[in-house]
Symmetry: C2
Subunit: 436 residues, 2 copies
Amino acid sequence: MIEETTPSDELLDRWARLRRSQRRQSFQELPREYMDDFFLALDAPAQAELLLALPYAERRLFVRLLAPDDAADLIQETPKGERAGLMELMDDITRQETKALLDYREDVAGGLMNPRFARLRPEETIEQAITYLRQQLSRVEMIYYAYVLDNSQQLLGVVSLKDLVRAEPEKTVAEVMTRKLFRVSDTANQKEIAHLLTEHGVKAIPVVDAQGRMKGIVTAEDVIDVLREMDTKDIQKVGGMEALDGPYFETGFFAMLRKRAGWLVILFLGEMLTATAMTHYEKQIEEAVVLALFIPLLISSGGNSGSQATTLIIRAMALGEVRVSDWWRVAGREVTSGVALGVLLGTIGFLRIVIWQSISPIYGQYYMLVAVTIFLTLVGVVTFGTMTGSMLPFLLRRCGLDPASASAPFVATLVDVTGIIIYFTVAKIILNGTLL
Amino acid sequence: MIEETTPSDELLDRWARLRRSQRRQSFQELPREYMDDFFLALDAPAQAELLLALPYAERRLFVRLLAPDDAADLIQETPKGERAGLMELMDDITRQETKALLDYREDVAGGLMNPRFARLRPEETIEQAITYLRQQLSRVEMIYYAYVLDNSQQLLGVVSLKDLVRAEPEKTVAEVMTRKLFRVSDTANQKEIAHLLTEHGVKAIPVVDAQGRMKGIVTAEDVIDVLREMDTKDIQKVGGMEALDGPYFETGFFAMLRKRAGWLVILFLGEMLTATAMTHYEKQIEEAVVLALFIPLLISSGGNSGSQATTLIIRAMALGEVRVSDWWRVAGREVTSGVALGVLLGTIGFLRIVIWQSISPIYGQYYMLVAVTIFLTLVGVVTFGTMTGSMLPFLLRRCGLDPASASAPFVATLVDVTGIIIYFTVAKIILNGTLL
């Protein structure tokens, strides 16, 4: 569907799979006219890696391609000793702007923003404003809105290009501008900004410092990577591991092993409680080995329903669809879902035993009581799993932790131990005097 | 951090939690000057719902706020009978553009694009081009690049604002434009476009029809929702349920139950195989009840390691970090990881039995052989879980299915059955002549 692929696209496709030592050479083999595009298409860590692999004399050409926000990202990915050398290669204005951006932490508005935006003065006429904007075109690269600032750089309002061109030329900017507009402080967290941009559908958000001076704008483009990174971490946590900080093949084998082993060991230690719980019921199993046959089925049903519920709530929280204060409404809905799902699975389990028994009588003379035990246990375990899975993210968030840590395997482990207790308690009651 | 919240922001925060019947009233209670912003901040289904709740006379005001791509989204969310009425309210140009967009499926480039872009002719001088662009400002809302089209609307090249302003005024557009540029066909899938925009870092991609005529542009803003929706579906699938199509509270109780029940039942039926497998080992359990104690611990360890591996690979595939052709490299890496993680958990399991036994001798005289059985089973189960979890997404993709369907619970279920077989096979060999 995508027409026209260039040598730089092909290299981009292969890039992650190349050995580091091959990358510089592959880049230098590109036809000259594709090099710029290719370099700009790389992310900051890859740009830094490539740049430092190039001979010093060739670096300037590529450093000069970068806008200040991208240059700042690049510098942040560069070892400290190399930074000054790269900054030297920039033109004066970009170097100054890049330095200003580097003072911010990477994950706040100030570190994310583009300092090159179109600006106007309130007292200008529309005609003057349009002429003035034309002069700014080379600086701003892309025009979303034009921001109206006074002499001390205070943000007074905003005008869209549309507003400007439609207004009568003799009016002043102050007369046509919109005064109320979103703004974020330069220390605002990148997650908040991402939410604001996606929820409110504004195209760009102005960033102001503590004195109300406008410093830059953040756009959808700037937060798209932030959002995807957040989503990646959530998915990895839901899958039961510490979030990786980089792509699969870029993450070292031992770094990845450590992140995976951490959670696996915690889950393993938690799951050991099942062995302890089982020890208490060893006598029951000895008397009725038939009970042991259903243990994996029962506990995994609790785990699966818990995984579903926790995943659903974690995502709804991440998208802002569900807040901490909604926990009560969610609880009501989930308990009803849990019972319904439990009855459904319980019925299937019940039928399975009854039908199987009529084909080959492996469950003994009390098969009907066993079937009832399985039914009731499933209702209990699935309801408990659903409740635990849905409430745990709220609990974690309330404690100031990341709700995504309530991963599917974590919930499953929690529910496994309880599932065993529910099972043998129900069995004790139903099978008392017969099998037990 | 976010300064200045308006009544419309407050309503936006509450919106999803309001009953449908309260929404129109809350909207109409907004001060007039906030209504437009609020309406524009809603997503298309909410806009459609609100609009249809308003008296007919008030609708025009809000319909006219929408750009054609947003108008098309709105129409698509409107019941068929109401569509003509809403189209009537648009101005002629927007109606025409909206109609053209409605001919496209929602999930292809043509349905995503904005038909209002800045256009230039190749023979114009730079000076003429700048004047001409100024006239277009009211149409285009936002300028990324200006596209150069010939008389038959064929896309010839692109110029950035920067290029234009820096060029000598007497040169022609054709002399300064860049001729090689990405373009996508109007039938290209939205996922491909999202990838292209995020991977290659271009700000806007031109969309052309089968005859090569330029139809519109797609920007980061247009795909941000597409990407988040994809991520949401992936997360929900990883958590073991069919993807919901809407926010948690907006999805009807029974619709949600159906989506959850579907997967739960499939997993339950799969997990029934564990009961079948266990039946084969009933005699062994009877002879050595101690074996039953470790079943939940062993199978959940396989499930957890499988969940991790599948989640990792699903995400890496979604981000384009790992391709189908990489399966061999991934397999090598994962088998090594699996053995390492298995030895780690196996060692913990071994020590647990040996240490526990020295405190209270519950595992009998052959506890050392039991410990060895647990160790070997864990190595086998974790290695198998990791391999299955990492390879299943490749297999699904190869079969043309969504790799995200290899959810954590699905992999866990698959691994549970195998785990039981591995366990009792190892036990048979190690404990032969002693416990068995």
